[in-house]
Symmetry: C3
Subunit: 146 residues, 3 copies
């Protein structure tokens, strides 16, 4: 059995605010992290998008099956983290959207996802960064197992 | 391009507990914030409701399309924040509900939404409060853009 | 009217990492809490599962209606807390899953739910623990009302 990794971390700075309207959600989070030198963090966002791209990981084929939607969608949750991949800030997030009929959809968040408005809360994690590394078993770039 | 706003904030008090059964979720969060003089905060709630009202923002008509549901619904997520509007605590939250058939629904949370049980976790944000202000482009009361 | 309970708490340690692949999600969180002597906490998880069991509480019959699913599902949210029940760490969590067609399902999380990968963020709460106690009105083991 593989061990899980459990690292304690210290709470760094916290940031709250609005992501820029009409821009890509992931790109905006990354830009903010670069501007403020945040290497690792966790965040939560609520708001709305004009369009979104997201997918679910097919665990057998080891590929994301993606979809793109356009229209009026509220962001009901967008939960994710930032950690380095190839030395640069990388966002891993999931999003759930609601439409006017009361239907929900969502998945692993991709670009391009255009913000209508987005209120974020980001916590910087102070720790030895988890560098994302390719994991053969899952086919994903994961934090390292012990 | 509009700039996003990114304010660092300090972590204030944290509160956890149960919201009162049979009462409106938003009213209960506001009452708690007034009792404890919380001006800004973020919160997360899980539990169940007896009934709920929620909506999705129609970005063209600039109006919320709302729905009300009654019955046995678990609160799978309820993520939101508190910040002043017209000088009073205002709750902005999204909710996702699940029913017995495994179907999910949800949206922007409105009153009246009656709690069956609700476990909350609230973090006070120490910062110059973001006063909600009408934003012409979106038609929403948002935190101010720079 | 029953009063809500609102206890302030102090922020304890924070932990982030991966839950072990192929193991039950709830059991893994409990094992981690025992290993690190975490008595109360709140957590958030994103990732994917191979299979999951979850339910919605039927408020009239006072019983959970449960479902089990198998296949490729991303964990879009998994929000919960840890607090003692009969003196042992007990996990109360809700989960939302997405499938390849863009459909979402979820509910109150049960075992057995097998992790494909799961990135967690856990905050220890420093406070007099809320012992879960049977509540006659709801039929649930809740934190105590005042």
């Amino acid at each position: 059995m593989l061990m899980n990794i459990v690292a304690p971390y210290n709470t760094g700075r916290r940031f709250a605010g609005l992501l820029p309207e009409g821009e890509d959600l992931i790109a905006s989070v990354i830009r903010m992290c670069i501007q403020h030198s945040v290497r690792m963090g966790v965040f939560s966002i609520i708001g709305a998008v004009r369009s979104a791209t997201f997918g679910i990981f097919d665990q057998r084929q080891k590929v994301y099956v993606t979809r793109t939607v356009e229209g009026s969608f509220d962001i009901l949750t967008c939960t994710g983290n930032v950690s380095p991949k190839d030395g640069k800030p990388f966002v891993h997030a999931k999003i759930i959207l609601g439409d006017e009929k009361g239907n929900l959809t969502g998945g692993h968040l991709f670009s391009e996802t255009l913000v209508f408005y987005a209120e974020f809360d980001l916590l910087e994690m102070i720790m030895e960064p988890y560098e994302r590394t390719y994991d053969e078993r899952t086919g994903l770039f994961l934090w390292p197992y012990a």
